[in-house]
Amino acid sequence: MILEDTTDAILLEQARKGDETAFRAIVLRYEKKVALTVIGMLGNCPEADDVGQEVFIRFFRTIDTFRQEASLNTFLTKIAINLSINELERRKRRRRFTLSSFAPPDDTHNDTPEQQIADPNNAYEQAEIREQIQKALDRIDEKLRAVITLRLIEGYSTQETADMLQIPLGTVLSRLSRAQEQLRKYLLP
């Protein structure tokens, strides 16, 4: 497909003019990146798909004001982070009014993916590992999850992570250290 080779700038220009194919190409290009942020923060749930869709809808609404001072990737990630944080806040409010909030944390997932990493070519095992990482991520505090998603999974620098989450650099490092500790607890024997 020709659009695969088209630059972001050209796709944006075409999408601004109402070209649906260009907008679709942007969605296809950044779908995985947005999934990494949103599912990393919310877990693999129906809301994550909704939030993922909303990321692109919000982007489309602001497409005329987007001036490419930041890369499209960073811009979409920012929207994804903000919407994910909003969703987490909503969840927290909902949990206060439901009995499920009294359920103890699910401690049944004690399998460790460590040995399975030895054979990463096995698709089934990889899916298992992904699932275990997701479960471990689901269990850590959302603030820590946001930091670990951006810093260690997405690969942003500590400063970029601090800028995106609008927190001091020192807070990113301390949250990262705590997140790392918690994740290790859930992932390692």
Binding site: V27, L28, K32, R151
Partner: protein, 142 residues
Amino acid sequence: MTTLPPDSYELLLRATDTPDNLSDEERQYVQQQLQTQTDWQAEYARLAQLRTQLQHYQPQFAPNFADRVLNRQKSAQLTAITKLMLLWFPRVAAAAACVGLFFALHTYLHEGTISIETITGNYISDEYNEESDWDEYIYESL
């Protein structure tokens, strides 16, 4: 929690990110610390292990995600139009009612009635009918 000071922890993070991006001085310092300091060694090993595990993490949305986004975009646009109509309707409706009332009053004052005929313009007043009769009479007498 790490036992390393924030600066060292950040340096170690960058060392496990992209070691090539470290300056020569930083690289030397990290190597030296890793050779001599057990807390650095332990932290490095933990970070490296976690990173290896996280590399396998590649979440994806359900298939046909782009289709769902585009469908939602279209329905969002329709909702926006509906919202705009709802926003403007009370204002337009009030103005239109005033205009309608004015024309109705105008029609009533001129025609003495506001029947459907007068509003639609099909009404012929008696006065006009009388004139028509006279015209017909004159025409026939010629």
